[in-house]
Amino acid sequence: MVKETSANSSRESSIKKRRKNPIGDPEVESDIYKKVIAFEEKEAFKRTAASDIKLCLEICEHIRNIMLEIVELRCRKPPDFAAKLYDKTVQGCSYIIMLKKFNRLDRVRMTSSREAIATDRHKNDSTELQYQNLLYESAHLSSEIKKCKQFKSKDEDVELVSVEEFLQDAPAAKTKPFKNYPNLDNTQKHELHLARLEWELTQRKKLAQQCSSLEDEKKQIAADILKTKNRLSELLPKLVTVLDTMKPLHEDLGLPVEKSYVEERQRFLLPDPLFIFYANADGFKEVHGINITLNILGEQDEAIRWKESQNISIFQNDDTDAENDRQEIEESVEVVKKRRHRKASQIDKNEERRKLLLEVHPLSVQLIIHHKSGSVLTMQFFYLTSLNIIAVTSDVQFSDHITGCGAKEVLYGENILKELFTGDFGLDSPNPLNQYQLKKIGLNSYQSLVPTLGYVYSWAQKVCGLEFLMSQRLKAESSVSGRHIDIVMNALNKRLGSRTSLAVQLQQLEQNVMPTVPESVDMPQNVISSLAKWTSISWQNFCEATCTAALLASEMVSSSDLFYCATITRTRASIKAYIAIQNDYPKQTPIFCLNAFCDGEFHSGNCDQIRDMERAVNVEWSNSSAHSATWLLAAQLRYLCAYFDVFLEIQSPVTYAQNAVFFKNMCGRNKRRPFKFRKVGTGFFTQF
């Protein structure tokens, strides 16, 4: 072994020597060296590592064989032992050299592959780095994009005129590129937006300028007004002095300027509703020439005070109301504690509240209507400021020859105005608010206040421009008044006339004189039955009469009517007529309800003929004109007398000889009596 190794080492050294040799010539040597290296490298890559390993294993096998042969040789020690040994050694060495060669090749290959790995790794690293860079860049960009997207421009907050308007209003030069407006691409849209913004800016500038100029103008005008006001206030004292100096002159000349001036002043102190009424009534007087007089009554100074305090009092009212409410609540809490103490003050407070609520305006309007019959109707209109209604008191002066009780009663102020329009008695406040206001001071309705304050007719509210049903307007309106004034005035005038004529008739009837009826009205002559008695009766009496039941059931008469009882006689027979005169006589004919006595009691409840007579008396006049006030009642009574004659003469012709002219006693299945008067010749009666 030692030998071998030494042999090996010697070989090696020889190789080294060989190698060293080329190094001896540096130029050639390096060249060779490089060449060798290049060659080896080439060789290394030509061959594959796998085939080399095979070869290596073969070589090792060969070496092993050689070693075994050497061992065999050494043991046997054949003759040519040394030579053979040498051969074998050489052979073995060559194999080892080959091995070495392969080792070298392998190393070369390894280095080269390492290098390749290193370069690859380097490449990989750089790619990785680049990738990271790009990733970062993309994240940055996306965040940038996001930021861009979130960007809000100020212009979005600006309110712009709509595109259509813009296209219409802006100068053509600016709108030209956007003619085909709805189909624009994005840039064009952007441009359009810019253009609109620009347009808006110019417009706004213009308007701001205008605004400031107007403001200046306003200031200027305000200054002017102030100046004029000052001048006017300076003028007033001067005028007063002029008027004062003029006074003696007026007095000397006897001019009425002063009076109308005073009236004018009073007029403007009137509360709105009364002022409206005054103005409209005055106008009515001028136009229609009905004989009416208008006056304003009351203390002027108080009115001034009232007008001044009006605004303040409104506020105070609110305050006190709220205060009262609060107090009430408090009181309920400590009611036990301080009951006695509070009671007295509460009464005072109630009284005060009552006074406040029922406050009457210091001025009132007096309306005097002079009717040609000589009656004078005086009405006074008061304004209840808190209740916001008009109250009316009235009085009638009638001519001296009306003396009878019943006749006078018809003409009493409140009677004459009763139901000027259907259902309007003036007892309940037409202002729906009042009910609650009155409840607050412990009154159930307005009715109890009538004697002290006056009647609250709804026509009175209307002529003063107050209308409650239509709406909750609390302001007086002139148009409302204007709409009603002529109707109401005419109604008042007509009512006064008709009442006077009714009174005249009643006056005569009370003296058992049948009032005369004008020639133009057809009247039966030669009537035998005559009026025996005329009395005024009460609603109670009227209801108690046997004959009135059906009429009462039909609700055609009501307690507000006027009731009378007339007795008509012819020898032993008599007929009682219960008469209900409605308030708007003669528009509604007086209603007669008959009760005849002749061999028994007859009325519309047991006798068709009496019923028919009633019909004739009540219905036949339904077409009578409105001018019949002076004679309608009398005419009805006269006809009743005539009909009673006819009735008696047919009922018992033996007792009552025929005096009236009629041809057929009765006709038809209802045995109808001739209760229709025809004025032909002296006149006669027929059925139809």
Binding site: S554, T589, N618, V619, G668, R669, N670
Partner: protein, 345 residues
């Protein structure tokens, strides 16, 4: 401005309207209905009043009231005026016409007009002879038989009129005062008048076959009420009559009173034999439904002071209607008590 004018107009009209309304109300309060009849179809009730107005009610609506809708069922279906303020004395329903007798004239109306027309166009008109304007005869009662119209009139005569041409072909004169009622059954015609006589005519030879005078019978006469006969009705064997004298049933052949009815009345204006029942009404508080022997089957309180007329039918609605001296019509569907009351406006 227009609004104001309008408001003013409304205000004025409401004033005059309330006044007018009141006048209409009082006029209607004193109305009397002298006639009632049903249309041939039985769906409508027709009335005639003293103001000359024909009023038509829808019976179907009355019998089947619409409970959900507004209560318009008792409102008249139609109404028109024949002659203003001239009372309608009689009406008669024939197949094609409503015949209305007033004073001196008889009018015919087609049913279409009666049911639907407000102006009441007259289809034909018959004028009765009269000597002077004021004595125009009232047409108090009418019956129709075989194309002939028998009209009992205020001039004591019964006119026989040919409905084809409208000519008076015969005049039956026997009564001495005006005729209240005529009734036809078979070939016989009964007539009753103010003179207290009931005549039975044979309509073939136009002669009076029988004549009775109830006021001459002591058990029947009521002197305080007079002798007038307000209503007659006949069947094959029986004759029912009443008026001033008490309501009485007479046997046809022996002509003697079989039953004198004990009802409390002050004059009979309506009486009729309906099958085995007798209906009667007049100046009494009730309308009577009686049997032949005088038993009162039912008595119906009336809204009217005096019942002047009644109408009854079985089909299509069983109904009996009564009216008289009031604007009200009582309706009963079972002949026993009053169901509904209609009012003329």
């Amino acid at each position: 401005m227009n609004y104001e004018v309008h408001q003013k107009f409304l205000y004025l009209t409401s004033l005059s309207a309330s006044c007018l309304q009141f006048k209409m109300l009082i006029k209607s309060f004193y109305n009397s209905i002298l006639n009632l009849t049903f249309t041939p179809c039985g769906n409508y009730l027709v009335s005639g009043d003293i103001y000359g107005q024909i009023t038509v009610f829808n019976l179907y609506r009355l019998m089947n009231p619409d409970l959900n809708g507004p209560n318009l069922d008792t409102k008249p279906h139609n109404s028109f005026t024949v002659q203003e303020d001239v009372q309608i004395n009689s009406i008669l329903a024939t197949e094609s016409f409503l015949i209305v007798g007033v004073v001196g004239e008889i009018f015919g109306y087609t049913w279409k007009v009666v049911k639907n027309s407000k102006d009441g166009k007259v289809a034909w008109k018959i004028e009765l002879p009269y000597s002077e304007v004021l004595s125009k005869p009232d047409v108090n009662c009418m019956v129709a038989k075989d194309g002939l119209l028998y009209a009992g009139c205020g001039d004591n005569k019964i006119y026989v009129i040919n409905l084809e041409g409208g000519h008076i072909i015969r005049t039956l004169v026997e009564h001495s005062d005006y005729i209240h009622s005529i009734f036809n059954a078979g070939d016989e015609l009964a007539s009753g008048g103010e003179d207290g006589v009931v005549n039975i005519w044979d309509i073939r030879d136009k002669e009076v076959t029988f004549k009775i005078e109830p006021y001459k019978n002591d058990g029947i006469a009521r002197n305080n009420l007079g002798k007038w006969i307000g209503a007659v009705s006949i069947s094959d064997d029986w004759l029912l009559c009443g008026g001033g004298p008490k309501l009485s049933l007479w046997h046809f052949r022996c002509m003697s009173p079989a039953t004198i009815f004990p009802i409390n009345d002050q004059g009979i204006h309506y009486a009729e034999i309906v099958g085995d029942k007798l209906l009667a009404g007049g100046r009494a508080n009730h309308f009577y439904n009686m049997a032949f022997n005088g038993d009162v089957v039912s008595q119906i309180p009336t809204s009217s002071l005096t019942v002047f007329t009644a109408a009854h039918q079985e089909n299509p609605y069983r109904a009996m209607c009564m009216a008289g001296s009031s604007p009200k019509i009582d309706i009963c569907s079972n002949f026993n008590y009053r169901d509904q009351v209609l009012t003329l406006e």
